[in-house]
């Protein structure tokens, strides 16, 4: 069959996907080939697999179930500060894990605010450690994401349908049956699969809040294989299992989610005519208030405990902050260089393999990538001198799945709307890229870049394998502070990290939308 004309080549995107796949599979192969005979998959590894699936399943179900209630309340209420609240709801997702755990413990820990309040009434302190603690933390991280995905579904129900429903005097039940339930059936499976995939590779959360070896995830088993047994073969095997599981979840997510995307522009409220009863109002207020408290209190705790520590920060912490900003900036550039061509290729219809390659970042174990890169780099160059570029590259690959979710729907829209016009004006190639594609993608590029910068800022990542004392990133410096009994300074540095992550996100996201035309 003859080739259809395209305004832009799909090749760079395919190349970027190849780079990503080569990085992930190449490092895995490097680790596997370096392995001596190991002891293979043991019973404890099966236990880790079971626990991983259980916690990811529970976390995904709970996150999405709560997100439905929250998204419904947000979709049908308009109130002062709604758009600010929606923006702040995004914060936990871009929060560095170590900072988030400190915040969660300050609220839900044995000596946390809730336990102290319970103590006033003579109750036992909360017991956060265990499977439920892991799930709680995962809900904290993923509820905002799930809410955004589902709220998107609500916003995409055309306003005319709600007008029609109001005309027909449909009550909440009827609206649920006619409009909301069909939409949820379409949106929920995708949201479930995304959260499930994210929780599969959980590591730091499970370690700290898991309460012991019961809560061993696959990523933790990989850690054990490296550190305790130095069994590289098993580490590679476990990492392969994790890749397959996440690949499956991602495949499901792609298959079932028709209208995907972590959309922007969710601050638009639909005019609704239903849900005006006192009960519905009370219920929605309850949802919004409790979600806001659940998500905001830990952030407040980080701010409260870190404020005094800010004054204890030495120049080396500020240097580390600078390094982190640098790594984060570099990582964002790398991410865009990978994600934009890939999004363009997917939008052109060359999707299957490229989309899967983009998802792999969710599944890849940073420890395996880091070690694999170390094995590959070590014979040719000094790994230390490459610490920062390698960290930036790996962080970019980790952020890629989210960036693609944001960029692809918009890229499809741009291609569909302006592809032919640009072709007929002989704008294929450079002119299309610079004059049409990038300008039309600005808001989404800003959002994706902000997310990537924030995620990279907070990630401890592979730097631990490569770091030398002079080039610590801020998360690494926080660990070093904690390791030197400097807990208060660590809390101050955590607050600084929180500020930098949020700041980077805000600036880039804003920059994308600033002066952007409709």
């Amino acid at each position: 069959m003859a080739r259809r004309a395209q305004p832009i080549s799909a090749l760079p995107g395919a190349g970027a996907a190849l780079v990503v796949a080569a990085l992930i599979f190449g490092t895995l192969a490097a680790v596997a080939l370096r392995a001596e005979a190991g002891r293979g998959f043991g019973s404890s590894d099966w236990a880790a697999l079971r626990f991983t699936l259980t916690q990811a399943g529970l976390s995904a179900t709970l996150s999405v179930a709560l997100a439905i209630g929250l998204a419904r309340a947000l979709a049908r209420r308009r109130f002062f500060g709604r758009s600010v609240l929606i923006a702040l709801l995004g914060a936990p997702f871009i929060l560095p894990v170590i900072v988030a755990i400190l915040g969660l413990l300050a609220v839900f820990g044995r000596a946390g605010w809730v336990s102290q309040a319970l103590g006033l009434f003579g109750y036992e302190p909360l017991q956060i450690y265990g499977l439920h603690g892991v799930v709680l933390a995962h809900v904290f991280f993923n509820l905002p994401l799930a809410t955004r995905l589902i709220l998107q579904g609500w916003q995409e129900i055309p306003a005319e349908r709600f007008r029609l429903a109001a005309q027909l005097n449909a009550g909440p039940r009827a609206i649920w049956q006619l409009l909301e339930a069909p939409m949820l059936l379409r949106v929920v499976p995708g949201a479930l699969a995304v959260v499930f995939a994210i929780c599969l590779s959980s590591f730091a959360v499970a370690l700290t809040l898991g309460g012991g070896p019961r809560a061993t995830t696959i990523e933790l088993a990989i850690y054990q294989a490296f550190r305790f047994d130095f069994d590289l073969g098993r580490a590679a095997l476990l990492s392969g299992v994790q890749l397959v599981l996440t690949g499956l979840a991602a495949f499901v997510a792609l298959r079932v989610s028709a209208a995907d995307g972590v959309g922007t522009g969710l601050d638009r409220a639909l005019r609704r005519w239903d849900g005006d009863t006192g009960l519905a109002r009370g219920l929605d207020a309850f949802w919004i208030l409790s979600a806001a408290l659940f998500l905001m209190l830990p952030l407040a705790a980080v701010v409260a405990s870190g404020a005094s520590g800010l004054f204890l920060l030495k120049p080396n912490v500020w240097m580390a902050a600078l390094t982190s900003v640098l790594v984060s900036g570099l990582s964002t550039v790398v991410l865009l260089l990978l994600a934009l061509p890939m999004a363009a290729s997917v939008a052109l219809g060359r999707s299957a393999m490229i989309e899967v390659a983009g998802i792999l970042g969710l599944a890849a174990s940073p420890l395996v990538i880091g070690t694999g890169l170390f094995i590959v780099i070590y014979p040719i160059a000094d790994p230390f001198s490459l610490a920062l570029p390698v960290t930036a590259l790996v962080n970019a690959v980790m952020a890629l799945p989210f960036a693609l979710r944001i960029l692809v729907p918009r890229a499809r829209e741009v291609m569909a709307r302006y592809g032919k016009l640009s072709l007929s004006l002989d704008m294929a190639g450079g002119p299309f890229l610079w004059r049409v594609f990038l300008p039309r993608m600005r808001a989404q590029v800003g959002f994706a870049a902000g997310l990537a910068a924030a995620l990279s800022m907070g990630d401890l990542g592979v730097i631990t394998l490569f770091a030398d004392p002079e080039v610590a990133t801020l998360p690494l410096q926080i660990y070093r502070l904690m390791g030197a009994y400097q807990m208060q300074a660590a809390a101050g540095a955590a607050l600084l990290l929180l500020g930098l992550s949020m700041g980077a996100f805000w600036i880039l996201d804003r920059g994308g939308r600033w002066h952007a035309e409709a």
Binding site: A5, L421, D426
Partner: protein, 230 residues
């Protein structure tokens, strides 16, 4: 002369066959029931859809394998003819240079084209600040600058009111005369055809029939057209 020699055009699972000739300088309306293949025919000439068989020739030049932007074709689409992030002048200027690196001489040319369509004062506006009719005029200014032999219209004025649409069609006719362009215009309204077209191509059930004089065809419609006109 535009010649479609035993063409088979593939559009998904749908195929349109065409074997016909259009005289240079004529204005031809393409009418027929929706889903019959009108847009498919025009898009194949513009180069957006591949031929599985046959070839397309313009004045003995084989267009079949040419990229859309390299063909002697200017096209206006149903909607989205302007880029919302570019100014009126930039949108029109794309007709001269796709990369918008215009010389001062070319910029003056753009301004003249905008004045020709009555938009000389609005050159620095963005499309969102224009009315529907004004947006169509910007697209026509660009056509003027493109200076292509063939002008294809895929119902670009469908959203305009009757008076405004008539005005635009007249402007199209004038511009076609000035640029000596051959016009192919998709329409579902026989009145449009009568207004500016010398000839009509009927596309129905996957077959594009050879052009016939407008008045003859519309006054004595064959059965397929009769069913459509009602």
């Amino acid at each position: 002369m535009l010649r479609l020699e035993s063409c088979h055009i593939q559009n998904g699972a749908f195929t349109v066959q065409a074997d016909l000739q259009i005289k240079a300088g004529s204005k031809v309306a393409v009418i027929g029931p929706s889903g019959g293949g009108k847009s498919t025919l025009v898009e194949a000439i513009a180069g957006f859809l591949p031929l599985t068989q046959g070839r397309i020739l313009w004045r003995d030049m084989d267009l079949t394998e040419m990229a859309p932007g390299k063909r002697p074709v200017a096209m206006l689409f149903q909607d989205g003819n302007l880029f919302p992030h570019l100014t009126v002048a930039q949108n029109a200027g794309l007709g001269l240079r796709a990369n918008l690196q215009l010389s001062s001489q070319e910029q003056a040319q753009v301004l003249r084209a905008l004045q020709r369509v009555g938009l000389g004062d609005l050159a620095e506006r963005k499309p969102a600040a224009l009315s529907g009719g004004q947006q169509s005029r910007v697209a026509l200014a660009r056509v003027l600058l493109q200076q292509r032999d063939l002008l294809l219209l895929d119902e670009p004025f469908a959203a305009l009111g009757p008076a405004l649409k008539a005005e635009m069609l007249d402007l199209v006719a004038e511009i076609a005369c000035e640029t000596h362009a051959t016009v192919l215009m998709v329409s579902h309204d026989p009145k449009d055809a009568r207004r500016i077209a010398d000839q009509v191509i009927l596309v129905a059930d996957g077959i594009a029939h050879a052009p016939l004089a407008t008045a003859d065809l519309l006054d004595n419609p064959p059965p397929a057209l009769k069913a459509y006109l009602g």
